[in-house]
């Protein structure tokens, strides 16, 4: 492992590479309006205090981050031209771009980086609280150098500096007044390729081209309009008719995707979710008998028919999950499949485990009953619940389904722990420290905090693996720690990892180069152009 890492390839290099690869530069015409559908409408446009998904789909075009990432999750330059990590991993020096300006014309400097990280993200961002926990100060020796000083090494930090995750804010605007109720919460000002113009609630957000963008000649599009359409059939109709051009993240129902893909003017891709890596899972309440019994939990994991759910509930958009960490992390070495619950004789194994655990089948064919709570995120989750219900019935467990609204469900699972099995949907995010540890670390058994350790299972051994991996800067050593972690967690099975969900993104073929990063529609569309 190198002590010094330097991001070498600049935007110019990328452009050259595109030229050499045969992409004719003349094809990238300037002009055109791209209409994106985002569902649901974002509550506000303040990505520095809320990580609600729809917000990022809009604001990632307005704010740049210090870095961007390629499809191997490797950092690429953005507002930081280059960076250097010290040998002990506790000092990170960013060299900032000199020609970057905010939309109001003021230059972007290291003071903005210091303000954004120390005053905003570290204190108010839901994930920033932990992402930047180790950062003690940001030093600004000159306007174009920002130095992060860390208490302990935090390798995951380097994956969380995109414009979506850690947007760089102008200090002279957001530094005035209370950041939590800031008047610019709905009028974002950044350095990004598109300027915020107008948000008509219930209708659209309009973003116009930033003519002074620091990337020479970009963006190509004149305008992006993000529309909000509450009804899924209408969203499909708008794409079909060409009134809207891009939609992702389940904005189009899975059963309509095939129909749209068949149309000549629409393309469907599943790229652009590599840094999000959603996993569909079942959380088991490990304090509630009989789920406190590891054999029962393993039996349920064997019983769940992952392939059936992928093919029939998610129309083929997914693959079986073999670990709490997504296979998207394979290039980094953090993904190693755990216990294989998809073996051919899984039903026999499940029945045997349940017999051994002391729950024989009774006269009515059932061993015991429980309630299965369903993630209240829409129709496919209900169908997934029905699939789980059927699978459990096969091994003699009678499950009743319960579907509530989001607020009630969150309280049930993460505050009251008043559940047996609940489906769930968690993002791995850009690094296991950010998205995976929360699922089963003992420190994250916290009533009232949502999307953390709801199963309430933990062990000192797995806690230790995670604590070491958090500060381990050597990728290979981290990989080894995660290998042990995955083996232990999948064996104990407090959470059943069902499938790695892939989302279809629908793109009108008139538009090219829209999805260019592992953040997909959380990208900035600087390179997108209309033919």
């Amino acid at each position: 492992m190198l002590n010094k890492r330097r991001a070498l390839s600049g935007a110019l290099g990328l452009a050259l590479a595109a030229l050499i690869a045969g992409g004719p530069a003349a094809a990238q015409k300037a002009g055109g309006t791209l209409v994106q559908i985002t569902q649901p409408e974002p509550p506000n446009l303040a990505p520095y205090i809320s990580t609600s998904g729809p917000i990022g789909q809009v604001t990632a075009k307005v704010f740049d981050g210090l870095l961007e990432y390629d499809f191997d999750l490797k950092p690429q330059p953005s507002l930081a031209e280059s960076f250097e990590v010290s040998a002990d991993g506790k000092t990170i020096t960013f060299k900032l771009r000199k020609n970057a300006k905010f939309h109001d014309g003021k230059p972007f400097t290291s003071a903005d980086v210091q303000f954004t990280v120390m005053e905003v993200l570290k204190k108010n961002h839901p994930r920033g609280l932990s992402t930047f926990a180790e950062v003690t100060t940001v030093e600004t020796p000159d306007p174009h150098t920002a130095i992060f000083k860390l208490q302990r090494p935090a390798p995951y930090l380097m994956t969380a500096l995109s414009g979506y995750e850690s947007p760089m804010l102008p200090k002279h605007i957001y530094g005035e007044g209370d950041i939590k109720t800031h008047p610019n919460a709905n009028k974002p000002v950044g350095t990004g390729p598109f300027k915020f113009v107008e948000w008509r609630r219930g209708e659209f957000v309009r973003l116009d081209k930033n003519k002074d963008y620091w990337r020479e000649g970009m963006p190509y599009l004149d305008r992006i309009v993000v529309r909000f359409i509450a009804d899924s059939s209408t969203r499909t109709a708008a794409l079909e008719k060409g009134e809207a051009h891009v939609a992702g993240f389940g904005a189009v129902p899975y059963n309509d995707v095939k129909k749209l893909a068949a149309l000549p003017h629409l393309d469907v891709t599943t790229k652009g979710y590599e840094m999000i890596s959603p996993i569909v899972e079942l959380v088991l309440n490990t304090k509630l008998p009989p789920l406190d019994n590891q054999k029962v939990r393993q039996a349920i994991s064997y019983a769940v028919d992952r392939k059936f759910m992928i093919d029939n509930v998610w129309f083929g958009f997914g693959k079986p999950a073999m670990a709490p960490i997504s296979s998207n992390f394979a290039p980094t070495g953090y993904y190693i499949p755990g216990v294989d619950y998809t073996v051919a004789d899984r039903i026999e194994r499940a029945n045997r485990l349940l017999d051994e655990a002391g729950f024989p089948k009774k006269a009515d064919g059932f061993r015991f009953e429980l309630i299965h709570d369903i993630t209240p995120y829409g129709e496919e989750w209900q169908r997934a619940g029905e699939a789980v219900q059927q699978a459990l019935a096969q091994v003699g467990i009678k499950a009743t389904l319960r579907y509530e609204d989001v607020a009630k469900w969150l309280k049930r699972v993460y505050t009251d722990y008043d559940f047996a099995i609940s489906s769930n949907f968690l993002y791995n995010l850009a690094d296991p420290v950010l998205g995976v540890h929360r699922g089963f670390h003992s420190r994250l058994i916290r009533p009232g905090t949502v999307f953390v350790n709801g199963s309430r299972w933990s062990s000192p051994e797995t806690d230790a693996f995670m604590d070491q991996a958090t500060i381990e800067t050597d990728q290979a050593k981290r990989g080894a720690l995660y290998k042990n972690l995955i083996a232990k967690v999948t064996e104990a099975s407090p959470v059943i990892y069902v499938l790695e969900l892939t989302f279809p993104t629908i793109i009108n073929t008139q538009f090219k180069n829209v999805i260019t990063t592992p953040l997909g529609i959380y990208g900035n569309y600087a390179t997108a152009y209309k033919e």
């Binding site: 506000n44 609600s52 839901p126 008509r200 609630r201 219930g202 309009v225 209408t234 607020a407 999307f451």
Partner: protein
Amino acid sequence: MRGAPLVRYILRRLLQVVPVVLGVVILNFLLLQLAPGDLATVLAGEAGGAPKEYIDQLRQRFGQDQPVVIQLFNYLRNLLTLDLGYSFRQSAPVLDLLLDRLWPTLLLMVTTLVLSLGIGLLMGLLAALWVRTWKDHAISVAAIIFYATPLFWVGLMLILVFSIYLDWFPTSGMEDVVAFYEGWDRVVDIAHHLVLPSITLSLFYLALYARLMRASMLEQRGLEYVTTARAKGLTERQITLRHVLRNALLPIVTIAGVQVGGLLGGSVIVESVFAWPGLGQLAYQSLFARDFNLLLGIFFMSACLVVVVNLIVDVIYVLLDPRIRIG
């Protein structure tokens, strides 16, 4: 009867509005307390999880760490100065959010009212004139079909036929977001976008008015004053238009007034199918987000709207039927 007494009457009715609206606000406030989960949890949920400190911080900001009685008291006190509070989820004052949505809502409501009343009354009138002929049956069957078809289905079918296949109208939204027209072009563009949603919403109500109008006309025609009028030597046309129609309208006006509240509710579906930026959708979203400040604001505004419309209905009564006294 006209003039000064009418003004006094309106003023007195407006005063009576105060306790009604106050009652609505307090009742809604207490009802909302019964919903499990709160805005802080929903916000944290939308964020994909957040530390406990963050959620506590949110609750404190929302004033949810206070007892319910104090929260209610604060809310009412602010209401007196027309301060409807701040929507923390939408990071904007509630009043601004409501006013933004008010005019699209009114546009859709008024168009629907005019369309459904106009066509509904005409259909009912014709059915009554042609009573027990095939034309009457045709109108009645059509009305029943409109009445029984779910709104969302009608909306989607209209999109499919008139937008996708025939390409006459846009699928959704209130204006063209690629062109962004200005001036008269914009008015035309908005009207173009208004056609499908207002037809969808009107179909349901016009069926109701048509049925009611037909029954009301037939009833009035059997009354003695019609015989008197006929004995006076008036033509059938004069009797129908000047006497029967005017009397038959009274129950329709009553129902139309009551339906305005329902129109707000029915438009949730139409608004979401056609992505129309009205109050209904806003109410729907804020309920699921437990954004109570915003929700209470919407209830407050709807209550005011319904009360005012009913006042207008009462005034129309007086104008239609001089026998009805204000007092």
